[in-house]
Amino acid sequence: MEEMLFIRTEVVPALARGIIVSIQLIIPSSALGLLVGMAVGAARVYGNRSLTFAANCYVAIFRGFPLVVQLFIWYFGLPYIGIYMTPYVAAVLGFSLCSGAYHSEYIRGAFLSIKQGQLMAAKALGFSHVGMLIHVIFPQAFRRALPGCGNEIVYLIKYSSLAYMITCIELTGEGKIIASETFKYIEIFLIIGAVYLFLTTIASWFLRRLENRLSIPGFKPFSV
């Protein structure tokens, strides 16, 4: 009885608070990450030499440094040069820039998979540059980048737990606090694991549906 009361008054509200913060981390980070990825991916394919070089350096660093190191740089490191951020802002920035680097790889691959002949054909049909981008390149590239980018978003859901390490108290952080007070580590972390499993499963299910929905018969989603 007392156990139930404890769960109702302590555990559930804390975890609910945590889930809200986690979702507030995941949604803006994945949206910003996709934007960064599109910009960087386009720069790597269509940019001039210096732009491509800068974009490649960005990707090498943000894919090469562990996410924990990146988060620590944003939150603990930047005050060194006088820039202060709240843990939440640092986490969103860290997640967006890191996943943007990964997204840019898939988006770059998607752009490269579109054959030169298509661009020439579009030009021959009188498409403007923007029209060609919107009507010819983008619809195909989007479908080809979707599986990779979708995976990256599922990864981001799991990596959002690292925000706890820079004191942004989201689901894992709330769980750690209650668990250390009550020593009920197994119960609490199993519940938290189940919440993450639920989120990742729903996200991958939704992405798979989106892929099927957008699939065009005869169009190969992967470049061969």
């Binding site: 090498a60 660093i61 090469g64 440094f65 562990p66 996410l67 924990v68 190191v69 990146q70 620590f72 740089i73 603990f76 490191g77 930047l78 005050p79 060194y80 040069i81 799991k158 990596y159 959002s160 737990s161 690292l162 706890y164 390490m165 894992t172 769980g175 750690k176 668990a179 580590y185 197994i186 972390f189 199993l190 938290i192 694991g193 993450y196 499993l197 990742t200 499963t201």
Partner: protein, 222 residues
């Protein structure tokens, strides 16, 4: 500037000792993941239906739950409930290894499935048992095919190993943080830690590329 450089130079040997710990964690986790991952992959391709379901469940669980949550669950929860006293290092190796096994099993499964079906039949026709055929015919080919994806997995495990800092494993990241909180040179120290990770990633993937060329069979192509 000069001050932070001298601090960095002083801290570098300490950080590099941390990279030995990181390499230990990664090596342990990748080996555990390799052995367990191969077993899971073989089970998932050739096993009975209940075994396939069970392995599917394992993969779903370990790919869906964040590393940090699993580290806490195992370190503070499971192992203390069972009264097993393990160091943070060992728990990090086990948890990273179990997660990597789930990912590696999918790499090896893909490689096994991509082999032509006739191979197993031919091996049976030559009088091999299924187990012998899998060990002597299927796996030597599948493992070669899996090296590029495996090298990707290496770079992921290497970067994830930095999370072991949350349990107090004294790897690169933990050491960078110790020194930073004493000297207030946060930015240069974390950046150096990141560069050490970059170098380890580069060295590891390079070594695996060499291995791939080394074990390549002339004339064999998929």
């Amino acid at each position: 500037m000069i001050e932070s450089l001298t601090i960095l130079a002083g801290a570098l040997p300490y950080l590099l000792k941390g990279s030995v710990v990181t390499i230990g964690v990664v090596f342990g986790a990748m080996s555990l993941g390799l052995l367990f991952g191969i077993a899971l992959a073989v089970g998932q391709v050739y096993g009975a239906i209940w075994l396939k379901r069970l392995i599917g469940l394992y993969v779903w669980f370990f790919r869906g739950v964040p590393l940090l949550v699993l580290l806490f669950l195992f370190y503070f929860g499971l192992f203390s409930l069972l009264n097993i006293n393990l160091t943070a290092f060992t728990v990090a190796v086990i948890v990273l290894g179990l997660i990597s096994a789930a990912y590696q099993s999918q790499i090896f499964r893909g490689a096994i499935v991509s082999l032509p079906d006739g191979q197993l039949k031919a091996a049976r026709a030559l009088g091999m048992s299924d187990a012998t055929a899998i060990v002597l015919i299927i796996l030597p080919q599948a493992l070669r095919l899996a090296i590029p994806a495996w090298s990707n997995e290496y770079s992921i495990v290497l970067k994830d190993s930095a999370v072991a800092y949350a349990l107090g494993v004294t790897e690169i990241m933990a050491r960078a943080h110790f020194v930073a909180s004493r000297t207030y040179q946060h930015l240069p120290l974390y950046f150096t830690a990141g560069v050490i990770f970059l170098i380890l990633t580069y060295a590891g993937t390079k070594a695996l590329r060499l291995l791939e060329e080394r074990v390549h069979i002339p004339g064999y192509s998929q």
